[in-house]
């Protein structure tokens, strides 16, 4: 979840910290560093990738190439709650597409997008490996299984309510 993101600009000091944990920095450390970076910033801002390139003398194109190849990386800010909706086979035959469209119309976003209030983002993932819970979604580290379109929306409404109460 987004922690260090500042409205006016991005604090880049975290990048030197990451690089200092991998000495000497090798190509092998690149994907891991980007994962740590995303954990910290919530996504991969352009400035951050530039900084990583500069600190590690790696071509920016290479870093950008990795960031766009792997589906785990996001180039845009993510919602506070990332909804990972499973599109595995077991979920699919148990009507996951209906849940996907119910969530989409409830939040007014498509797969891969984030709500305007930055609360939710929706991404469908290959398979969460919890087929016995199908259809299932993962929000944070909490699984919600055996969903119906109604129960999925109820989960989202409860999260939104709790968030407001905070």
């Amino acid at each position: 979840m987004t922690k260090a993101l500042k409205q006016e600009g991005i604090d880049l000091s975290f990048m030197s910290k990451i690089v200092s944990t991998h000495v000497p920095f090798s190509r092998e450390d690149l994907i891991g560093s980007l994962q740590e970076t995303q954990d910290h910033y919530g996504y991969l801002p352009e400035e951050v990738m530039d900084k990583l390139a500069e600190l590690t003398s790696t071509p920016v194109a290479l870093i950008y190439g990795i960031a766009t190849f792997y589906s785990q990386f996001h180039l845009k800010p993510h919602g506070k709650y990332a909804i990972k909706l499973c599109r595995g086979t077991a979920c699919h035959v148990k009507e996951a597409p209906k849940i996907s469209s119910a969530i989409s119309s409830h939040l007014g976003i498509k797969d891969g997008e984030t709500t305007n209030d930055m609360l939710f983002s929706l991404e469908s993932v290959a398979c969460l490996g919890t087929c016995f819970l199908s259809p299932v979604m993962l929000i944070g580290d909490q699984y919600y299984g055996k969903l119906t379109p109604e129960s999925a929306i109820e989960v989202l409404e409860n999260i939104a309510k709790e968030n407001k109460a905070k």
């Binding site: 891991g32 990795i66 599109r87 035959v93 969460l128």
Partner: protein, 555 residues
Amino acid sequence: MVTLSKEIKNLHHIREKIKNKQAKRQVRICATGCRALGALDIYETFKKELKEAKLQKEIALIKTGCQGFCSGAPLVSIDPDNLLYVCLKKEDVREIVNTTLIGKKPIERLFCRDKKKPVIDRSKIPFFSYQKRLILTRCGYIDPTNLDDALAHGAYEVLEKVLTSMDPEAVIEKIKKSGLRGRGGAGFLTGLKWGYAHSAQGSEKYLICNADEGDPGAFMDRALLEGDPHMVLEGIVIAAYAIGACKGYIYVRAEYPIAIEHLKIAIEQAEKYKLVGKNILGTGFNFEIKIKQGAGAFVCGEETALISSIEGRRGQPRPRPPFPTESGLWGKPTTINNVETLANIPVILKIGANEYAKLGTKKSKGTKIFALAGKVNNTGLIEVPMGITLRELVEDIGGGIPNGKRFKAAQIGGPSGGCVPAQFLDKPIDYESVKEMGAIMGSGGLIILDETVCMVEIARYFMEFCVKESCGKCPPCRIGTTRMLDILERICGGKAEMKDIPRLEELALQVKKNSLCGLGQTAPNPVLSTLRHFRDEYIERIKLKKKTRRGKPII
């Protein structure tokens, strides 16, 4: 008499100590898969209730990995009573403590039901009685975050034997003799692969454990890593010794946080006991292991793409030869084995290659772990001997199809596999027979489909998956799968013509023949197998020009 190193003596000492310390009664709660349905809450409630009843010393409360019977989640098993309570709620815990743990009486209401009748004895539940759990023997039984518990149940005994009394050639010979084939999908003989790796030139060799279980509908490796990471780790160290590797990686999907956590703990604890790292068990053998997290790319399950990813590049495959056993990670000889394959190693060396080879069919030996899911009553993790029939899997272990519906097909092998229809229900399952039926063994994902599922839609679903996951390097896969999806969408949308069927078939064969790696070569399989077994559904969809089939809405 060989003198034992101090590390080995220490291991023996720990084993003895723990065996004597074990509580007489144990309550085991699945805290991995069942976590999603509130297992941790139930654990905490048990802890509190046991404390209140002053039973916390007499009864061991153990958080385990997957016990297999996932459709009963959350569940607990109680030993030595041999009880299994399923679909628990927090409110049931007090009753279990009072009635079963104190009163020594079972609670019928919480039993697992077979054909609506409660089954008291866990081993008599058909879901378990048809299985042969060799690899999963400790999975769901031990606490996966506690090496001592694993040691008390036989972990690393085989490693000790291998390092003190066998040379690498002897280990490879045993694995060859066992007939073990790679469990990742292709089914290559593991002993043969190790033989190549062992004789490959070069002082620096690598071993990679492929835990990038990407097939939708497969969770065998996840369950193994979460429930008994030491079985895999022991297999890894033995494999490294056999091929002469000094360094290794476990490449795990980032989507499996619990598996990563348990692996990290397991490696840390094993290092402390000198079971991995420098001078293992004082024998002078060094092997360093690192975890690499995947970043969400299905193609990284392909071995050359996986190597690219570990090297810090885009996970794109390259042509073979050279095979990784000659030139792999950083250009050095590299052996890549799947999680389940490696977990088989300690078992084979423990029971003996001959005994192991007695299990299974002529060409497929041993057992296979399947993830049973979809439209079946008992979903879960199962281990069965090779050669079991689909009927036994679906009806006996799986408990049949829910809501009185009929079985239509089993999807075996994920996006690289195919759909096996009802006429093959009584055919024994092994690598060869599954191929004949138009699917592949794959990693072991088994999704049961009932009569309400439209097969054209299933083919479209898998093609959509392959289009998204194609790495884009070779045109047959990148463009071919996209065009195939176009045709399938036309058919599903009621806008196709009859000529689209031969078009689709021709394209499928071209993609299969000309793609660079396994992803593209197998991506047409779901289409080809449904065209072969369910061609009438394609024709019907095209003729009806509608989005519904037989008046029923299609998923």
